[in-house]
């Protein structure tokens, strides 16, 4: 398999500012007795060109943080900045366009519209925006991720690994400021998971893609440049240049 470097030499210039920031992020679900504080004043920065993993136990708020950062949900209070745009100030339509043009997603499952072919799924953010896909760019990405021969197939005809790689192509096709991945390897076997993580790492190294990935898998997190640990809605620890072992140690320490 080729790496992204071969095809994406002339990638666009790298943003210098932090790609995204959360300032005093608070998110409350429910009301009254059922009230749950999912994010309890989170401050976090995500540097451009950096691969950040977010870890934490179930209910720690890691997915909520990702959703708020990605413009899929709104904070109860605080700020989310993508570049210098404050997501809190955007209308639903502006937020939608924001997601479409500046943000890429890979979810754990159900990433692709079943009625559209892989190729149509890939260019979906462009066609929704009324833009014409750059064919060379799309084909280059598809080749880099090894799905160039599967573009005419429907998602139901693809393996789980292929589906996730098609989703990666879709997420990268708009040259997003940020790529968000929510347990992207959660449904994959270890071989397919490894391949996908190598591809994400490649996008960061070779193309300066900023990536934020939520995972509970220490091995997956070890591909990142930095790991944030969340517990009860707060960032409790940060680990730079992690390895699987250092991550597992950190988790053990946090659990004590």
């Amino acid at each position: 398999m080729t790496t992204l470097t071969d095809d994406i030499k002339d990638s666009p210039s790298v943003p210098i500012r932090p790609a995204a920031r959360m300032v005093a992020g608070v998110k409350v679900f429910g009301k009254g007795e059922t009230e749950v504080l999912a994010l309890n004043g989170v401050d976090a920065q995500f540097a451009a060109g950096q691969f950040t993993a977010v870890m934490g136990p179930s209910g720690s708020g890691k997915s909520t943080m990702l959703h708020c950062l990605a413009g899929l949900d709104r904070l109860t209070s605080g700020q989310v900045l993508i570049g210098d745009i404050d997501l809190q100030s955007l209308s639903d339509k502006e937020m939608t366009i924001m997601r479409r043009e500046h943000i890429g997603f890979v979810f754990q499952a159900f990433n692709l519209v079943p009625t559209l072919t892989a190729g149509e799924n890939i260019v979906l953010p462009l066609t929704l925006g009324g833009r014409k896909p750059d064919r060379e760019w799309v084909e280059g990405l598809a080749r880099a991720l090894g799905v160039e021969h599967r573009l005419a197939h429907r998602p139901s005809e693809l393996s789980g690994g292929q589906q996730q790689r098609v989703s990666m192509v879709r997420a990268l096709v708009t040259r997003p400021d940020l790529l968000f991945a929510d347990e992207p390897t959660g449904n994959l076997d270890s071989k397919a998971a490894n391949e996908l993580l190598v591809q994400i790492r490649g996008a960061v190294d070779d193309y300066n893609q900023s990536v934020v990935m939520v995972t509970h898998d220490a091995r997956a997190a070890s591909f990142a440049d930095r790991v944030l640990f969340l517990v009860d809605g707060s960032v409790v620890r940060e680990l730079n240049y992690p390895t699987t072992d250092s991550i597992l140690d950190a988790i053990r320490e946090l659990e004590e």
Binding site: T96, R100, F105, V113, L116, S156
Partner: protein, 852 residues
């Protein structure tokens, strides 16, 4: 199991809401019809009981046959002298001489009060001095008619025409229009006028001259001494009058006869409306079928779990059918209540139109309740049966697996079954249309329903390619269109049964439109080819039974120097060769000047009072030639023999049999002209001629002067009125079909929550999402209307061909109108998508992608 069933209904109440609505609409239409007709029926029962309240016996002329469909009995008059003999019969307390006929009041502005052609009858009567036999009650300040030019009028006409006692009023009758003095105003029992009729009451002598024949009466009403047995009284009177051509009936049986006549007429009305209620329920059954199919598919895991923990197949089927039972009962009960409300509204509406139904309450018969609940529930359960069976086939293992609810590809069995059902349906339809088998209408209706079912069965086979084709212009360079197209074809069975519901409505609209256009074109052709007259004078009443034009009008028109020929046409109901038919009659001398009847043999102008002309079709069918004898039975004068003197081709103008005026005068009960035809004298311009005719018509306010173009327009207008009525009644079926589209879209988008969330996440705006749902709806509705246009065109073609012998000789496909129908269906489809589209757009992105 029942608890699970009930919980199932409540858990999915929103998803069942539109299903229930469809049942409610259909059932309420049905219940409303039954309640309204029952209410009208009871009102008439009351009216007849009131009229004959003190009447113990009635003496009237014998009728040779009962002209079915005619509200007013056509009986020969009887001699007034019989009254003296009746009065002498022991047990008779009083007799009343009844004379009635056509009389029409004219309001101060010169316009007629009431129009028998489109509303309640306009009746003239003789005043009956015996109060027990006279339902009229004079208001204070007036008196019964005494002078020859006195009249009493009903209170409603007095208030409509702003008349008071002492005013002069013009009355139209078979004689020339004349002025009378209002001597009194009366109520009819307790109501201002029975059902809005206008009633003019003359002295007996005037009535005999104006309405009937001097010395003759329509019937003699008899009041017996108190305690007399009606049957004994009838027997005694009968004995006293032996030898006269009369019949004597008891007050009770005449009440029942009157009631029966009304109930028979209401029966037609009832059946007519119930047909549309059934169409609505038939369309609704598609919606119910869809809902259950979709819900069963969505609950596949739940059903598998039930099976896994030990529910039998029968129990699973039972649980789904149980839900159908709950919904059916619930919706039918609401539908019944809405129907009663609807009937109350219609009753009020009729009152606003001047047709007051004085019955105090609505009649909700036990039959109405049983039928409404049973039909609504049964339709729901039958429609849910197949989905319930499918639910039972869910394997228990499905609870543990990710079952992909991919639609199975259409099978060849389906194609075979669909084609066989279709052939059966079309065969039944053609048998009904083109043969004379008993119960033809049943064959036509059943055949059409079965044909619709066959299209619904075959639908999934064509839904995929056709929806793709319809969707392709939308999908071109539009991702929302592309998604809509893909969604429409992803489950062809669902798309096609949703479209099929709309197909039914569109097909029936198409059928009616084609039949109406063809009828208009045929009328156009006939008038162009056969009518030589410059003008038609029409009273609006084409039957000649309840009203018409005074023959004096024809005489006045003939005398105008500007007029070459003026001809009055009469119409009567007779029996020929065992069949009851309407025959026309006119002065034979004018006919060929005014009409091209395609004379083949013989001569019309020389026809005498005992001659008849027949159409070439009848002549061939009955082997008649010039000089043959034809027997005609008149309801009042009985059997008469006529000699064939002419044979003509154009039966659309003259009908199958045509009598000379003299025969009509001798045998018809109604001596009014239905229409007058006028030919201007040579050299008289239309303006001059029209002015001269209008001057005569000024004293005949019911008469309208029409040239050929206007005459056509008048005929077209009548067709359009019927067409609009049917459109209005079909609107309910179309509405239910649109609810069906909204229902399918709502359930489908619910099913696609995650997919929609994903689309929203990767950048689809709410507007785009709505557009996508809208386009999907458009594809479904265009599929339905395309099917409907094709099926409806075939039905229309068959129907027009079948009506060829009824004078519909032209077949017209009104392409423009049919395209408008298709466009309207498309617009309606877009409207149907509004609700589901809005709901889909409101889907919370997070909930959707976080699900499971």
């Amino acid at each position: 199991m029942w608890r699970i069933t009930l919980k199932g209904v409540f858990a999915h109440k929103l998803r069942y809401a539109l299903t229930a609505l469809a049942v409610i609409l259909g059932v309420s239409f049905m219940a409303g019809t039954l309640v309204l007709t029952d209410t009208i029926g009871r009102t008439f029962d009351g009216l007849f009981t009131d009229i004959y309240h003190s009447t113990d016996a009635v003496v009237r002329g014998q009728q040779s046959f009962n002209p079915s469909g005619a509200f007013i009995d056509q009986r020969p008059l009887i001699s007034a002298t019989l009254a003296a003999k009746v009065r002498d019969v022991p047990g008779v307390r009083a007799v009343g001489l009844v004379i009635s006929g056509y009389a029409q009041l004219v309001a101060r502005d010169g316009k007629p009060i009431g129009n028998p052609a489109s509303g309640p009858p306009t009746i003239g009567e003789a005043w009956v001095n015996e109060p027990a036999l006279n339902p009229l009650r004079l208001l204070a300040g007036g008196h019964a008619p005494r002078a020859a030019n006195d009249v009493v009028i009903d209170k409603r006409s007095a208030s409509v025409g702003h008349y008071a006692v002492g005013d002069r009023v013009t009355v139209l009758s078979k004689l020339a229009p004349a002025a009378y003095v209002i001597s009194g105003i009366a109520t009819w029992g307790s109501v201002d006028s029975p059902l809005g009729a206008t009633i003019t009451v003359f002295t007996p002598a005037t009535a005999a001259r104006v309405l009937g024949t001097p010395g003759m009466v329509n019937e003699i009403d008899v009041a017996g001494v108190s305690g007399v047995d009606q049957d004994q009284l009838v027997a005694r009177i009968d004995a006293a009058l032996r030898g006269s051509r009369v019949e004597v009936v008891s007050g009770l049986s005449i009440t029942q006869q009157g009631q029966k006549t009304v109930h028979d007429a209401l029966g037609f009305f009832n059946t007519f409306l119930l047909i549309f209620a059934l169409i609505a329920l038939f369309v609704g059954s598609f919606l119910i079928f869809n809902t259950f199919t979709i819900i069963v598919a969505q609950r596949i895991r739940e059903l598998a779990l039930l099976r896994a923990v030990g529910a039998s197949r029968r129990q699973v089927t039972g649980s789904v059918l149980g839900e159908a039972l709950c919904i059916g009962l619930f919706a039918s009960a609401i539908g019944l209540a809405v129907g009663v409300g609807l009937a109350a509204g219609l009753k009020a509406g009729l009152k606003a139109l001047g047709i007051d139904i004085p019955a105090s309450g609505l009649v909700v018969a036990p039959r109405t309740i049983v039928v409404a609940i049973a039909v609504g529930t049964l339709v729901t359960m039958v429609s849910a049966f197949l989905p319930a069976r499918r639910a039972a086939r869910v394997p228990p293992v499905a609870a543990m697996q990710d079952v992909i609810v991919e639609p199975q590809s259409p099978s060849s069995t389906r194609a075979l079954v669909g084609v066989l059902v279709g052939v059966a349906g079309v065969a039944a339809l053609l048998v009904g249309l083109f043969t004379k088998v008993a119960g033809r209408m049943g064959f036509v209706g059943g055949g059409a329903a079965v044909t619709f079912l066959s299209i619904a069965i075959l639908g999934p086979l064509i839904a995929r390619p056709v929806s793709r084709l319809i969707g392709s212009p939308m999908a071109w360079r539009s991702v929302t269109g592309k998604l809509a197209q893909e969604n429409a074809v992803r489950n062809p069975a669902r798309t096609s049964s949703t479209a099929a519901a709309l197909m039914i409505g569109v097909a029936l609209v198409t059928l009616m439109t084609i039949v109406a256009s063809s009828t208009k074109a045929s009328i156009n052709t006939i008038i162009d080819s056969s009518m030589r007259a410059d003008y038609v004078v029409s009273s609006g009443d084409v039957t000649g039974v309840t009203g018409g034009l005074s023959p004096s009008l024809q005489r006045q028109l003939s005398q105008l120097p500007q007029v070459a020929t003026a001809l009055g046409i009469r119409s009567g109901i007779v029996q020929i060769n065992g069949a009851t038919t309407t025959v026309k009659a006119a002065n034979p001398r004018g006919i060929l000047d005014l009409f091209n009847i395609g004379l083949e043999k013989g001569d019309v102008a020389s026809m005498g009072p005992h001659d008849i002309a027949v159409s070439s079709q009848v002549a061939t069918g009955r082997h008649l030639s010039l000089g043959s004898t034809v027997s005609v039975t008149f309801s009042s004068t009985g059997r008469r023999l006529f000699t064939v003197r002419a044979i003509y081709r154009t039966r659309e103008v003259a009908g199958d049999y045509f009598l000379p005026l003299a025969a009509a005068q001798a045998n018809f009960t109604q001596q009014l002209d239905v229409q007058d035809y006028v030919q201007l004298a040579p050299g008289v311009s239309a303006t001059v001629g029209r002015r001269a005719i209008d001057a005569v018509l000024a004293s005949y306010p019911t008469a309208t002067l029409l040239d050929q173009a206007q005459y056509k327009q008048q005929q077209f207008k009548q067709i359009d009125q019927v067409l609009n009525l049917v459109y209005g009644l079909l609107a309910l079926a179309v509405l239910i079909a649109l609810i069906g589209i909204a229902n399918t879209l709502a359930l489908s988008t619910y099913e696609r929550t995650r997919e929609l969330g994903l689309l929203r996440a990767v950048g689809m705006t709410r507007g785009q999402l709505r557009a996508s749902v809208r386009k999907e709806s458009l594809i479904i509705s265009l599929l339905g209307s395309a099917e409907g246009l094709i099926v409806g065109s075939l039905f229309g073609w068959a129907m027009v061909r079948a009506l060829g012998s009824q004078g519909i000789t032209e077949l017209v496909f009104p392409v423009g109108q049919l395209l408008i129908v298709a466009a309207l269906a498309g617009v309606a489809g877009i409207v149907a998508a509004l609700g589901p589209g809005r709901r889909a757009a409101r889907i919370d992105v997070l909930r959707a992608i976080a699900a499971e």
